[in-house]
Amino acid sequence: MPVFRAYRRIIKKNLSQLLIYLAVFIGLAASLLSSGAATPADTVFSDAKVKLAFVDEADSSILTEGLKAYLERYANMVDVKHDRTSLQDALFFEDVDYILRIPSGFTEDFMAGRPIELEKTSRPASFSSVYLDMNINKFLNTARFYLANIPGISQQELVAQVIDDLSVETAVEIRSKVEDINVGDNITSFFNYMSYVLLSLLILGIGTFMMVFNQKDLRSRTLCSSVPLRQQNMQILWGNLIYAVVCWMVMMILGFVMYGRTMLAKPVMLMALNAFVFTLVALSISFMVGSTLNSRNALSAVTNVVSLGMCFTCGVFVPQFMLGEKVLAFAQIFPVYWYVRFNNEIINLGSIALETFKPFLGYMGMQLGIGVAILAVALVIIKQKRQTWEA
């Protein structure tokens, strides 16, 4: 199998370049893993928490300490240096969502019933801003209510009373259907990012190979060799397929290393199947790229533009729900869109039955359809190229 052997040697020679992409992915995946493992589904309601920097410019009093203790329920206190630049940076890079500044003289003014004002800095009209505003005002309004109606109430008694009242909670019932463990967003991201690596690895690897084999002189030479054309093509096909499957397997092994038995969960196995379908589509994309391009420089340019382009618009790097409607509508022409949609939705599917699985077959079908269309275009291009040579 001379063609096949040549294939292996070409891949080997370019291994270092391919490994760069793999290394980038492993780095990404590792940072994903460190950002939290699978968690059990919610069984108890917990209040959302906002990242808060509590800046008490006055000396702390019983009142401000009380406020701070109360806010622990709605916020995680973030320790930031209180100078302007540190606070600015922290807010900009989302280390804090909300900065609350208690001005000096606050406690005296408040206890005396004078109008007071607290300064806050947040991203305007964001969730955390609305949510914390509401709960801070609640505390102060309750305190005001007591001050007005119980003249002479001491600071200590006031805070105790307010906190006592505010500990009244509504009963919350959670209707969660997923009884088994929640596999989590983590593994979904892992599979979503995988599309970027698979695309890069395949376009680069197969592209390089095709380019070598399609060099005009080399191609002419192999065409007049004793190996029949049919067999040559079969060997090329096998080479490409095996390379693609190996890439897919490397990804799966990586998954096992990182997630262990979670990989055997039903939805995850289906994601693996989806990834396999995507690998085949990526193969046909690579085939087309490899048969149209003539220079290695162009190949690395196209690899980057195609893989980054699809992954950005289809919701790999930025989740689909955060993308604009127009972008998503456009992205449907790319296989990555359907691949990512499959992963995002299967993880939230309570039970997998034939009926509920139907749309997912559609998503895989879309990918395959696009793959076949691309392959058809590639074949036409190859034919035309050969005809121009022969002419």
């Binding site: 209040d47 600015q88 004002e117 009209a125 509401m134 340019a301």
Partner: protein, 389 residues
């Protein structure tokens, strides 16, 4: 003579399509991708009303105060979205709406107020905070009435429960916080560092052992430093023009906010171009012969540096500054990003000036080291110059 060499250096460089692609076209494509991906990002964190289904039963219809409270939070106040958007439905409908994800929670009076949700979350917490408040206010009234024996039981003489807003928004920076600008700034830094590829070419063409052109140019009776300087100047100009074009594209087409100090921003580009370029000349001078290795080192360096400056994940820039401040100050990509960030966000110019000064210092060091590595090279014989790089 200098102008002659300069002119031809300029022409030669401009014909290098590969470097042109990586230094101008690729950043433009990438910034467009950023744009498509981020265009909706800020809307995603902005507040939207929490959607609730209220079960329309006996207990609800009899509870006038609760109905009033609901109305008060579902009306639009000022510019802001109302807290809740309420639907009054039957118990079965409510369950279906929740199941389909059309509402965040169900409020059920049974006759005590109860909240039914599918999971914890921001919207759900807002509904709960509202319900808590409703019950807490009743508790407060109860306590106050208990403690004032002399007032009538209906509480008419009490001061009513206030509904004041004590918080005033105080913006911290010059412009609004927008994390996504960091990505564009880091991208500009990456493009600046890609200028290193020009530096690589410039050195390759004055070193006799690195290319056939270099060998030929070394034979010419022109002082080597003159050729080198002409090359660096030509590359610097090209890179600066490219960065300016990228900047124009980002500002005019993608509408990325850069603040409005055009002069300072262009200065950042000029200095950033020099830093990237000299980094390239240095690497090219240090790593002899192997072109592939040089390119590898440069790509690796620029990916690493712009990554640390927040190109892949903006908060990373902040994490680096907090954890290893030193690393932030020796990373040219971060200095460029930070200079732009300081212009956009800070009201003072200290941080900007510091970044520019450091960039200039690095460029000077890179240039000096380049000079030391390439000067006075003499060759008895050059066994292998590969024609085809």
């Amino acid at each position: 003579m200098f102008t002659h060499v300069f002119k031809y250096r300029l022409k030669c460089l401009l014909r290098d399509k590969v470097v042109l692609f990586w230094t101008i076209l690729f950043p433009i494509v990438l910034s467009t991708l950023f744009f498509t991906a981020f265009s909706n990002l800020n809307n995603a964190v902005s507040f939207t009303s929490a959607k609730v289904a209220v079960v329309d039963n006996e207990a609800y219809r009899n509870n006038k105060p609760f109905q009033e409270a609901l109305v008060s939070v579902s009306e639009k106040r000022d510019e802001q979205e109302p807290l809740l958007s309420v639907e009054l439905v039957s118990s079965d409908e409510a369950e279906t709406l929740l199941e389909q994800g059309k509402v965040h929670g169900i409020i059920l009076l049974d006759p005590d107020i109860k909240l039914v949700v599918k999971q914890s979350g921001m919207h759900q917490s807002i509904i709960k905070s509202f319900l808590d408040q409703y019950r807490q206010i009743s508790a407060s009234y109860g306590t106050v009435i208990l403690r004032n024996f002399d007032i009538p039981a209906n509480g008419d003489t009490l001061t009513r429960f206030p509904a004041d807003d004590y918080l005033t928004e105080l913006p911290l920076g010059k412009n609004k916080t927008d994390n996504t600008v960091t990505y564009y700034y880091a991208l500009l830094a990456m493009a600046s560092l890609y200028g290193a590829f020009w530096g690589l070419r410039v050195i390759g063409e004055v070193q006799a052992d690195q290319s056939a052109n270099g060998a030929r140019i070394n034979l010419a009776p022109v002082h080597k430093m003159k050729t080198l300087l002409a090359g660096i100047l030509a590359a610097w100009i090209i890179q600066f023009v490219e960065l300016s074009l990228l900047l124009l594209y980002m500002i005019l087409v993608l509408k990325v906010p850069f603040g409005n100090q055009a002069g300072y921003i262009l200065l950042t580009c000029l200095v950033g171009a020099l830093a990237g370029l000299t980094l390239g000349t240095l690497v090219s001078g240090l790593v002899k012969r192997n072109l592939g290795l040089k390119i590898g080192v440069l790509i690796g360096l620029s990916m690493l540096m712009s990554g640390l400056a927040g190109l892949y994940f903006a908060p990373f820039k902040y994490i680096v500054i907090k954890a290893v401040p030193m690393l932030a100050y020796i990373n040219p990509a971060n200095l460029i990003t930070d200079a732009l960030y300081a212009l956009y966000y800070y009201d003072t110019y200290h941080r900007f000036a510091l970044n520019i000064a450091l960039l200039l210092a690095f460029s000077a060091v890179f240039l000096l080291l380049t000079y030391l590595t390439v000067r006075r090279d003499r060759y008895a014989s050059i066994p292998s110059i590969q024609e085809d790089n």
